[in-house]
Amino acid sequence: MLIAALRKELLLQWRSRAQLMAVFVFGASALLLFSFAVGPNAEILRQFSAGFLWLGLLLSSTLTLAESFHAEMEHRALEGLLLLPANPRALYYGKAIANWLQLVLLGSALVPVMVILYDAGTLRLGSLLLVIALGTAGLSAPGTLYAAMTAQVRSKQTLLPLLLFPLIVPALLASVKATSLIVLGDPMNQSKAWIELLIAFDAIYWSLCGLLFGRVVED
């Protein structure tokens, strides 16, 4: 059933792929605006590059996460699936994985923007992509749950970040620290500890949110 749910999500995402481009442009614009805010000081830009990258990703993620439930609520398609009956947990993990893949793609696409704008290149590209994968996993798991919770309220675009941001602070902090160490240099190999912390948070988020999803979407 998980495979069925994931295939459905990927098909829906493929049909709305133009939206991903719009979200990327939004994220890139945010990175550009941050660079304007700091000014032309290359050293400061480079120092803050990891934080800016994750802020850009965080802001963009709220758009994709909120939108991921639009098709489900439009004609109560999610309710239709639950009544088939489809396992709510499979539906959750299908959507959370699809959202995660979208955020990984978005994060990977924003890395070159960060390198160009902030002169923040690194040779440890594999490690950087690993942190992006783990960090976005920490965004997508609770993000998908909260997007489901707020999908039926009128001010979902406002409510989602209000609920989500406090919860993901630990994952965000670990992601920024690990990215920063990868970009700026890590002589003490401290990034490993932050990555381990990120894995621990991901494990908590993915298991807890999967358990809670049924309660959120059922009457």
Partner: protein
């Protein structure tokens, strides 16, 4: 000779459901014998859709209980869902996907085939690869109908099945209801088309302000 006793397909006991402070259903009790067709009639807002949504487990009753094929409506939700299919006011369809894709998604979750046959049955095979967003309301209704038929349920809840359909669609609904009945499927049909529904139904239930006024 003693007639054979048939197990009721649905037995509702004092079902009640409220939205805020308004009781949409109050003290609704009835029994539907297996394999029969029950017409549920009543004005707009009389509680027909709430009753169907409750029996399909889309929403929980606030008071009362019901057994569906011997399964408790609240406790055995999963089993009830496997036995019941609901044709709702909502289409349960994805607008950006085609008719075939919508049915294929449902088929994958159900673990059944028969997408093409279902499309043929509701006369949508020619438009199978068109996005649902391009469909008229009647075509969407037919596609939702196809989805219900694919579930091969033991109990079918049809909420306003004639709504938005053309005369050809009316005939299709009649034909399908007769077909379901001949297969022993229990059908509950909420409709304003009382004359048409009476021709198909074995029994009727009239609701007013959430209460049963006549059986």
């Amino acid at each position: 000779m003693i007639p054979p006793v048939t197990e009721p397909a649905i037995e509702a006991r004092n079902l009640a459901r409220r939205y805020g402070r308004r009781w949409a259903l109050a003290d609704v009790s009835f029994t539907v014998p297996a394999g029969s067709v029950l017409m549920v009639a009543g004005r707009n807002g009389s509680g027909k859709s709430t009753l169907f949504r409750t029996l399909s487990t889309a929403i929980r009753p606030d008071l009362g209980s019901a057994s569906v094929l011997g399964f408790d409506l609240v406790r055995d939700r999963w089993d009830v869902r496997k036995a019941v299919a609901l044709l709702s006011h909502q289409t349960y369809l994805y607008e950006s996907l085609t008719a075939r894709e919508n049915l294929t998604i449902a088929a994958r979750f159900l673990g059944v085939g028969g997408v093409e046959a279902a499309l043929e049955r509701v006369n949508l095979a020619a438009r199978a690869d068109d996005a649902v967003a391009t469909f008229s309301a009647g075509m969407r209704k037919r596609l939702s109908f196809a989805r219900v038929l694919m579930q091969e349920p033991k109990i079918v809840l049809l909420d306003e099945p004639y709504g938005q359909l053309d005369p050809e669609g009316f005939a299709l609904v009649d034909e399908v209801v007769r077909e379901l009945k001949s297969r022993g499927t229990t059908v509950l049909m909420a409709t304003h088309q009382v004359e048409r529904g009476s021709g198909l139904a074995d029994e009727a239930l009239f609701l007013e302000a959430g209460r049963v006024v006549r059986c």
